[in-house]
Symmetry: C2
Subunit: 274 residues, 2 copies
């Protein structure tokens, strides 16, 4: 977790409901309104910023959001502009769309926009991201990898993310694309890192205390290799399947949560009791 | 585990290599030869017994097997015949092909062939099964379910299997079809049951002591809910995603094993040391 931040993260496993109840997008609006300030849509991940931003602008307006604008940053030069920085700093909530996570980090990484994003988050802005926008949240992110595959080092490619949440690796479209293998392969490289597998139309809200709660129609799978007793990762060839024993897994639907500091699930009743 | 048996089980996650090294099929031949007696191919699972049996007869002969015949049982009447029983009892190794697991149980269940199969296994015959032939091995089997889905009760259908191995539920094509969700849903119903997810071209050999070892190019995923601290299974609606905390998972490639009695992984070195 980032230290001393006031912001909230809303990390979405992709394909969030945009027609029905729109539970997740409504929660983003609610969190943003509670914070104060408008919504800024960040389309850096996609090659089709106009199409994607107009889609989200329409949805957020339909769902009752007041101020919505899109910031279509498609170059590092643009990411360095003072106006860009100001828009980010004055946002109540920032929403990263899907696309390619490397576009987000490649365009924003180390720029004024990147700085502003962290500063806004520190001050209390809500930062949301779906699909690629979810993956980039962590310090080290999954760039790509095989779906429906057992864990192998060759099936996963990782790189530095935006670092809004530390100590975790996030994967999206998790159950829908059979990504247990690649998340395990990611976490096995550094068992102190917690794996968070987000199903489609499912999100986690992470508050400034590192408490996470689940929202949406599917589940969040937590893969905790902290207590793993054995792995062959250092001796395995890249295409050789990995061995890991004593992985701890939690499967959490809406209403459940997870304490990232204590590495323990928060049960539904427990949460209600608080 | 069945008690007081001398036989060996070879349970295969489907799509075993039939062209290259054929590690798994060769192991079946080796185990059968060590037992003594010929190979009997059981095609009850498939609607195309001639095609499937001639394919396996050709492969086993190419790989050097001496006596190979196929027993294409396609009706309960045929499964009751004394000749059928005799062929099963005199086999060194019996190989169940893929297809539909309900065809195997529906055609063989409670017949003379079913009795003979258990008796042969008790006496020391090697019983192998791939795909549907793998699923039927357990006392309660997965009949069907959704791939690439989070665990929900509605995504899984189960029924009584052939009961050659107790206390486990077996799923096949595991990583390749994203079946963590359905295996977890199966095991959650009765946490004393151990989930065994077999990848394609991957098998487990289970000896009479309940020790399992892994063979093949991918992995075996053990899902152990024995120590689960919380589940919502009794209150969840059928289509509602399940919650489960503290699931223990082991991912085991070739060379690793698992002790079904002690519920603990057997490491590669440990195995070599024995």
């Amino acid at each position: 977790m980032s230290d001393a931040v006031d912001g909230t993260l809303l990390i979405i496993g992709g394909a969030e409901d945009k027609q029905g109840e729109c539970r997740i997008l409504k929660e983003f609006i609610r969190l943003t309104e509670a914070r104060g300030g408008g919504i800024v849509i960040m389309t850096a991940a996609t090659q089709y910023p106009e199409k994607v931003s107009s889609e989200y602008i329409n949805i957020f307006k339909r769902l009752g959001a007041d101020k919505v604008l899109s910031l279509d940053i498609s170059s590092r030069r643009q990411a360095q502009r003072p106006e860009t920085k100001e828009i980010i700093l004055s946002a109540g909530g920032i929403f990263f769309t899907g696309g390619d996570q490397l576009r987000i980090t490649g365009i924003l990484g180390g720029t004024a926009a990147d700085w502003a994003l962290h500063e806004a988050y520190r001050r209390g802005t809500v930062i949301a991201g779906t699909s690629a926008g979810a993956s980039v949240m962590s310090a080290t992110m999954i760039v790509g990898g095989d779906n429906d595959s057992p864990p192998q080092q060759s099936t996963i490619s990782m790189g530095p993310g935006m670092g809004l949440v530390r100590g975790v690796v996030i994967d999206q479209h998790f159950a829908q694309r059979g990504r247990l293998g690649r998340l395990v392969a990611a976490v096995a490289q550094q068992p102190a890192t917690l794996g968070i597998g987000l199903d489609e139309d499912t999100a986690v809200v992470i508050n400034s205390k590192g408490e996470m709660r689940v929202l949406g129609s599917q589940t969040v799978t937590i893969v905790d290799c902290y207590g793993c007793e054995h792995t062959n990762i250092s001796e395995a060839e890249p295409r050789q399947p990995l061995a890991l024993t004593e992985i701890k897994v939690h499967i959490l639907p809406q209403g459940y949560g997870f304490d990232l500091q204590e590495r323990r699930p928060i049960l539904k009743d427990e949460d209600e009791a608080q």
